[in-house]
């Protein structure tokens, strides 16, 4: 399968472990259902990034599912995260948002959905560690502006719109500075009931 998917690993790094250029994210070990949904969203234009759309246009759902399963099955050690370039106050604000959210702005804690260890939940919710800061900033920014969106109800878009730009900056930098646990695996179940309804979960898809 790896030989068929050199088109993916050219940018996403060997076995999808992320590239050294600091943008293309790691895809290895991400939840299969999450990866499949992203591949389909790129192909069908819901996640606008022309190089991915162009590459995936001739592929059907069955192959996209196989590709997602392949990369989800790869459990690889993470490279050390580069040290953060921002001040301690910013990192403290980032950590507070991730662990506790911001009740004044109705922002739930990242941990509530992405797991206490932030390594993801089940097959739907991706982990947040081991991602480049530029990638995290770009995704949260894209959700705020509507350039990236998921199936309704689009919980991440709602949350991102409640975040001030400096909060996006703070939590992206804190997340990108965290070491990834050696056996970073998605947890089976969320620690608390989901604070928002999300269309991009298998349960929501089953209900439709």
């Amino acid at each position: 399968m790896a030989q068929r998917l050199l088109a993916c690993t050219g940018c996403h790094g060997e076995d999808g472990r992320a590239a050294s250029d600091g943008y293309y994210p790691r895809i290895a070990g991400k939840p299969a259902a999450y990866l499949f949904r992203q591949l389909r969203a790129f192909r069908d234009g819901q996640r606008p990034y022309a190089p991915m759309t162009h590459l995936l246009a001739p592929l059907d759902d069955a192959y996209l599912r196989d590709i997602a399963t392949h990369f989800a099955s790869l459990q690889l050690p993470y490279a050390a995260q580069p040290p953060s370039r921002v001040d301690a106050a910013t990192l403290r604000r980032g950590e507070a948002l991730v662990r506790h959210g911001d009740t004044a702005h109705d922002v739930p804690a990242c941990q509530a959905c992405h797991g206490t260890a932030l390594t993801g939940i089940g097959a739907d919710v991706p982990g947040l560690l081991g991602l480049p800061v530029d990638y995290l900033n770009a995704q949260l920014g894209a959700w705020r502006t509507g350039a990236r969106h998921a199936e309704a109800p689009d919980c991440m878009a709602q949350i991102a719109r409640r975040l001030a730009p400096q909060d996006v900056h703070a939590l992206a930098h804190w997340l990108a500075a965290q070491p990834v646990p050696a056996d970073a695996k998605a947890e089976a179940r969320a620690p608390v009931p989901a604070p928002l309804r999300c269309g991009s979960s298998s349960a929501a898809e089953g209900a439709r």
Binding site: M1, Q3, R4, L5, L6, A7, C8, T9, G10, C11, D21, A41, R43, D44, G45, Q46, A50, P51, T53, H54, L55, L56, A57, P58, L59, D60, A62, Y63, D66
Partner: protein, 414 residues
Amino acid sequence: MRPVLAGLAGLLLALTAALWWLNVRGDGTLQGGAFDANDPRLVERGAYLARAGNCQGCHTPRGAAPFSGGRGIPTPFGTVYSANLTPDGPTGIGRWSAAEFRRALHNGRSRDGRLLYPAFPYDSYTRISADDADALFAYLRSLPAVSRPNRPHALRFPYDSALALAVWRALFFSPGRFEPQAGSSDAWNRGAYLVQGLGHCSACHASRNALGASRDPAALAGGLIPLQNWLAPGLAGQPSQAVAELLQRGVSDSAALLGPMAEVVLHSTQHLKPDDLSAMAAYLQSLPQADAPRRTAESPAPSQLQRGERLYDRHCAHCHGDDGLGQPRAYVPLAGNRAVLRDPPANLVQVVLGGAFPASTAGNPRPFGMPPLATELSDEDVAAVLSYIRNAWGNRAGAVQALDVQRWRSSVRP
């Protein structure tokens, strides 16, 4: 003065009459076909024909409801938006009669008589039989209705005017019908019917003049797809067995269909009956091949070839081999590959920069993909490696320069 003025007025009147006549000829009277639009066999046949015509390629935007329209077709004259073909009354074709649908296919007119832009390839569809038109209509009427108002085209002046369209039609469109060629086999005629009509192959595989009309569409001598900068190669005289296999599987031992054609394979040709694919391929093989154009580009300089060889060893040889022979069923050979030698080298530039997958098909469900190298190679690098593969292992073709790479980068991404 007076006779001159009178003469001019007369000329104007004559031109207007000619323009009018050239636009309504062949319209005939609107007569509905006598058929049962709910007949499941008719609907099924229509579904197959819609596949053969790849109607959804334009009428279903990415990720949208089937045939709900609104996909932008980029043209040198502006963007044309496809129509909603679902049976919704106010926004789709729910209020159309079968006769009005036939007239749209055959004569390029909307329900209200308005002229349609030829991005809708009615210069090909005019050859679709009345029975097939009715089957397509029955199929479209069976789809779930989607309420989505049609988006107005975004064309530049003067192309946005009805007069310009009428003049274009007077110059370049004449309604016709498919006439089977006596003395040729049924299969050949079936192939000709599909290629010239529903398949509308000439929309891409024939070059276009300055006003966007196909030059010699029957010859299928190849053409550059405007703005997308993919070269649709000449189809005449190609070996029929290989062509039929490519249309069905998307790849063969020696070639792969990439870019816009990979999407045609995914959505259309892989679903066609083997008999129809063989018929189309046999017809294409029988077409006389145009003389190869004289080579104008110069041979590459030795220094460029050396640079290209180094880059090939680092980025390409792993899959395509030191001998350029690739691996059957996985990596296409570059030695002796027609697509490598073709001019202009637009497709090579697109594939090296953007990477590509062939279509996933029943015969090749998990295709091997080519990685995009845009972030790794400069324009000079791309030019060097392309010049190298066009002149290694017995290949002989003109040098590619960095300027060519800039020129053939796609200006529009899907």
